[in-house]
Symmetry: C4
């Protein structure tokens, strides 16, 4: 295998496609968001990208193994062409991140991508009530456009900048003249967060003008709430049941 | 030395050989299994593979040093040609794992290998009574074949996928069109586990139709049991001997 | 992107320029010092250097992202041409440090740099009263010249040598025949230290014969003093106020 | 700078020279041993080897900086030509160790080196009374020769094999057909150990038939003993002085 190996699965003509990236990261917000798009809209696998910068690993499903990779899907979202980047891995080292993102931008170039959005989460350290979405972009125009969709821009946030493939999509995309925006859903940082993914998708929906149903994402959010509740109960110890309280009452 | 250096020791003609890999890993299950095959059947060293991705290290035996390497042996197992990959090392970094496995597959190609089995252990976190063998494979045919030999396929196991050379034999092997299966003996993960190695070999025996004696492996298993017993005693403090109990009785 | 990518922003003719490096390090002494020069004198961005050896990261300011980089500015300091190297990053690995410093020296060569000074801090482990500046240089002449400006040379200091880009500017600069001096302001090592940066600049001022105002640096120093005071109070617990003491008095 | 850069300082003709390596390691045994040879016999710097695999660092002495490197000296030891490899650094990564050792063997080849000895320490975990020297070698002849000089060969020692440049001198030297022996002085592993270095030199003295004075090494050993004594006192708390004991007596 070469440093990067790109398998071509299909080569559809896409009209002014937008690239949407959602690789694993804080709260798996970006990953959940693009997985939801792939579930709700018809998509076609167009490229699979392997790299020796990914972990030396296969995943196993129903006994069958799959080598670490990321995948590009061509998805028609309410009549608009979208190129979705999805996967379970980022690069294992800094140099790998740069080179991986360069390959991603090469593929985007092949399909004539003219704008890109990197989706992710930004950790707040506490459970979230109101899911704000923070933004960043490579051009002032895009900053304004995001602001118009209620994306928040706060001074000195995110504090450590934006790292990994999302960060470099912005950094290397700008150097190629590609306008790239980043949507970061606030999330505690402790748990997989489908509700933060929904907040990010709601912004994207307005930006790209499409309609999507959130029922399955909401289900996953409720499952996570159950998990959170159980953890909180375990931390507080047993609480008296109604039975126990009757006598006192 | 180059990044990889392959010493040719012999070049026998092998008939439809199967590659069997057993490098160090969880419980040293794979390593113990292939070492047992090398002890029980006549084998010939055919290749030695050195790499700057191995630790910068020599081992010492009887005062003589050996540079870190892995070795290929041509072994005739009850009339069937087997190419065994054995050694004390895996690569020291992710990129090295990819490149090392590619070289291993190159050597396998030179000998006309048509199928491969990666042997290893899967950690359970507790001492094992019944040694199950979990499986994974690159083709549905091979999954079925393993199932027929009582190999178990469980949902979401192994949880973290399969890593290292074993994982990449599957991942990179599939990309070359080589059918590869993985046999993972359950093992506590705390100790070298000859009994798990035996469980794996018993599956292999059925798959490849050979007969092997387990006396020496059983001996090593009993030695390990002694070790476990001593550790348990140390943890529980002194227990009264029969002598001590007589009076009470 | 290549391993290193150098953007040309301007190509002014500089007369016998001196290179002054101040990348992040102990107490951010070097970085504060060169930032102060850039604030106080007119400068022009001449080169921006990107590298896959920098962290895979963009910083965000007013919603706009900037890819990790270091920058060269041509600055006229009281009639003398200075090439200032400033930025938020050093390389992420040892090999990267060597290659990054080589590129920095290439750029210095393009501008005809004939001398260089690396600015930094040396940690003392305790709060500083008198800010001494320690020195090191690639030639005896430069050692003498620094000594004449009250730079201190102490046996076995700095204990661990000089690391990172500053260290390699000296090491690789010497191999190219470029005289390089290093000015290291003493600093506790716990805090960003504008006063140590001032001490370093005062030496540089004498060496290169220029005048600079320290008002803004002094402001930052006072802000840091407030921070230190608050930390000390928190450590000591509440102290009685004057009010509380009146009765006793 | 290239990955490796070898400065030629002199090119004397050496007669059947022996390479003696003593880079930093356990107890600095090898380093102390070769430094003692360089002090006691006339030597000439012949090569200086720089590498981006060394730490990105300069050392400072009397204000003058030196880039991380290792050095080869041609030394005449009682009429016998010896090539000594000395320095303050090993490579910072595994791949670097392999490549560095290859370059060392290239230089050895240029001078016609026909045998090499790697000097080092082997940690015992406790303070040593009798300084044994353990051995390892690439040929049976050399094992015998070392045994004749009271070098000990123990089963399963050193337990983890021999790592770093010393280990690879044996491993890569053997692959080039160069006979290489390793002399490992027992040492606690906690402290710089001049007495272990002496034990190693005494074996070398017999092997290569030369005479050397140990006065300065003995001085350093006594200094270390003072350090050990002070540490032991600090651990035990104050012991009663003779004065205090008089009354009891």
């Amino acid at each position: 295998m070469d440093e990067f190996d790109i398998e071509v699965h299909a080569d559809p003509d896409l009209e002014d496609p937008v690239l949407i990236e959602g690789l694993p990261g804080v709260g798996h917000v970006g990953k959940l968001a693009v997985e939801h798009l792939l579930e709700e809209f018809d998509g076609e696998l167009v490229r699979r990208l392997y790299s020796e910068h990914f972990p030396p690993q296969v995943t196993v499903e129903d006994g069958r193994t799959t080598l670490a990779c990321v995948e590009f899907y061509a998805v028609e979202v309410d009549g608009r062409d979208v190129l979705v980047l999805s996967g379970d891995h980022q690069a294992g080292d800094g140099v790998g991140h740069y080179r991986l993102t360069d390959r991603v931008l090469d593929v985007a170039g092949e399909f004539g991508v003219e704008r890109a959005f990197a989706l992710g989460g930004v950790p707040t350290g506490e459970l979230i009530e109101e899911y704000a979405v923070l933004g960043a972009a490579t051009t002032d125009d895009l900053v304004e456009e995001l602001e118009a969709c209620d994306v928040e821009f706060r001074e000195d946030e995110p504090a450590g900048g934006i790292v990994g493939v999302s960060g470099l999509l912005l950094g290397l995309g700008e150097r190629r003249g590609l306008p790239v925006g980043c949507l970061m859903g606030e999330t505690s940082g402790y748990l997989v967060d489908p509700r933060s993914a929904r907040a990010v998708l709601e912004v994207l929906q307005e930006l790209l003008d499409f309609d999507v149903d959130y029922a399955t994402l909401e289900e996953r959010a409720e499952e996570m709430e159950e998990v959170v509740k159980k953890i909180q109960e375990m931390e507080q110890g047993p609480t008296p049941s109604d039975e126990d309280l009757r006598y006192i009452g």
